[in-house]
Amino acid sequence: MKFIRSSIVALAAAAGLASTALAAEFPAKPVTIIVPFSAGGGTDITTRTLAGPMAEALGVEIVVKNTAGAGGTIGAAETARSKPNGYTIGMMPVGPMTTQPHLRELPYNPESFDYICQAYSAPSSLVVRKDSPFNSLQDMLEHAKANPGTLNYGVQAVGSIPHVAGLGLAAASGAEFTFIPYKGSAPTFKAMLDGSVDMFVAHISFLTKNSDQVKSLAMLTSERVSTAQDLPTATDQGVPMHFPIWGGLVAPKGIPAEAKAALEAACEAGMNSEAFSSRMADLRMPLAFMGSADFEAFVNAEFSKNDKLLTAAGLKK
């Protein structure tokens, strides 16, 4: 009896504590993360992997909602339009944040958001078929310059980072490519295997998964990647380039400072959790946490870099 009574007292006390905590602090109810792509894709899976440990750190449930369409811009617009209370945030990748706004008029821009954290940043790689005659970036560029426009460069979507990276490579080296847009990574990979395209830019996890069939000519990073020390970078080979495929949590502009701080801390705790870090390690993705202020500055820098490249290529509208 005594045990039961004391348990009830303890429970009541705990309930009391919890309810005062609820009234005063963020979060008091489940948080929704909008993913601007369909369920099951790379962004979705990374978000879901992070959502579990992040929910533990926050102490409330996290609901992942997929709002897909139009290159991720529909989900980004939905995030920007949400109530700025910290209960609806978005996992926004580089495309809808920093390239799409240059390609057409959108109801949002980087100013529409508050920045919470960078959640991932995958180094990208220029890949060719394993049996390709090219073994280095220089091999390929020499061939491209001798035969202008003959090499086909596959892109997963017009104005996507792999496309922007190709434009950057062409601009930096003076080589010419014929860009052929496919719809997503799988068809682009297929087009390379069937011989339609000579190269494309992929995520490091793609390289890891398909090392039997593709090789990297250059990592498109400013320095060697910690999880792939053996792979030379474009910068090593004389063409300085840095095109990570990143994403992070953002909130509609004007969320309360305490909500932002709580989400930022939970994001960091979630990324350092065993569940998240081991999954990243499986994919050879370095952990790339960036806090609120750094992430905001980084997004703005990326926004103007991509602006320049898209303008130079005549894609900017």
Partner: protein
Amino acid sequence: MDVFALGLDHVLTMSALGAIFIGTILGVAVGVLPGLGSVIGITMVLPFTYSMGQIPALALMLGIYCGSVYGGSISAIVINTPGTPQAAATALDGFPMAQRGDADLAIGWATAASVIGGLFSVVVLIIAAPQLAAFSLNFTSIEYFALGIFALICIANVSRGAMAKGLLAGAIGLFLATIGVDHVTGDMRFTFGSFEMTAGISLIPAIVGLFALSEVFMRASESATVKAQIAHNVGFRLPPFSQWMPRLWLLLKSCTIGSFVGTLPGTGAATAAFIAYSEAKRSAPNRDKLGTGEPDGLVAAESANNAVTGSAMVPTLALGIPGDPVTAVMLGTFIVHGITPGPRLFTENLDLVYAIFLILIGVNILMFFIGALGSQLFTRALRMPEPLLMTMVTVIAIVGAYGVRGNPLDLITAFLAGVGGFILRKAGFPLAPLVIGMVLSQMIENSLRQGLLLTRGSFLAFFERPIALTLFILTALMLAWPAIRWLRARRQEA
């Protein structure tokens, strides 16, 4: 043989068998519900698969995949609404048969054809996965374009009797799919400056509206007194063996078409079913009755769409290229579980490959029993008072339309498609050509434009490629076939 025994060992565990069982049931359920399809089903269980063992995780997903492709046919037959786009061709003959009062027999045909198609494709996978994967690499954008044009003939085939209206509906379908992003230039088309429209018209809400909601509107518009009371047979009736005999050749052909189309990444079960239906219309024993509730149509569509399931694993396993969004999600899970698809899988992890074969066989056999037992439940839905049934259809349709992308525009799409479908049906337009147009539009347009980029703008180069040329010639022959038959008949008379 040792490797085979090892594979068998993997599958004969409680957890793997349990996963096959749960996965298949869940798959049939999401397939039956219009709007919820294979992708949603697989995504729902995705979080669970991370903590499961390798083989049970695969078993769960393969069960859902195969089950959902089959499940879509049940709603196509019972309420004239394909549960998934893959089953659109099934409604053409399945629903008329159910209207005749033979829903049980229609489900019997569909179930048996599905299981045979599924098993056939597993055999294909076992015998020739690496070779087929290598062959599929002969298909560049140019060949995809030729295949898309070939599949488009189906529009003409399902429009007999209302040819002008059918072709018009097909053109509307082709057009609707062009709304939104132009994938080759990144420009927006036909969005009238509306940001929401940039997401385009999604296939699933459109199908849900066109079929399910328009059916609701149709029934609501008919006066209660006119409504004929059909005595529906409930349950499950297998067509007798004697009925199968004349259709064996059709069955084999449809299975082959499905298995072949499945090995081409990015095509899918809907395309396969349309092509098989076209071929049935050309050559099946009862081709003239197709579209009126003829088993030939069910056999062709259902064996072909299920034959895609096994062969879609060919590029997924042997090349690491997912054949459709479903296998793309599966591929992600393979990697989480330390399985690396690609040419080496067949040499280094043969036991896993065998385990996948065995799981697929188990799933297909189980599907038969689920169909046989479950159809009691499904066909009873037909005996529900009509207002109740139609209310349920409406609710499910709305949930399904919204569930795919979480985009409120999709609800408007579904509603407008419902109204549009109602008007078209009232005016005597067939709906199937519209769906065929929508399914094929992007594949045809994108592959044509990619092909022109590859040939640097030359159409002539399309005809220099043997596979594409063969497909173009087949297309021309199929189109000319009715004329050839008519000429032959006349010569015989003379």
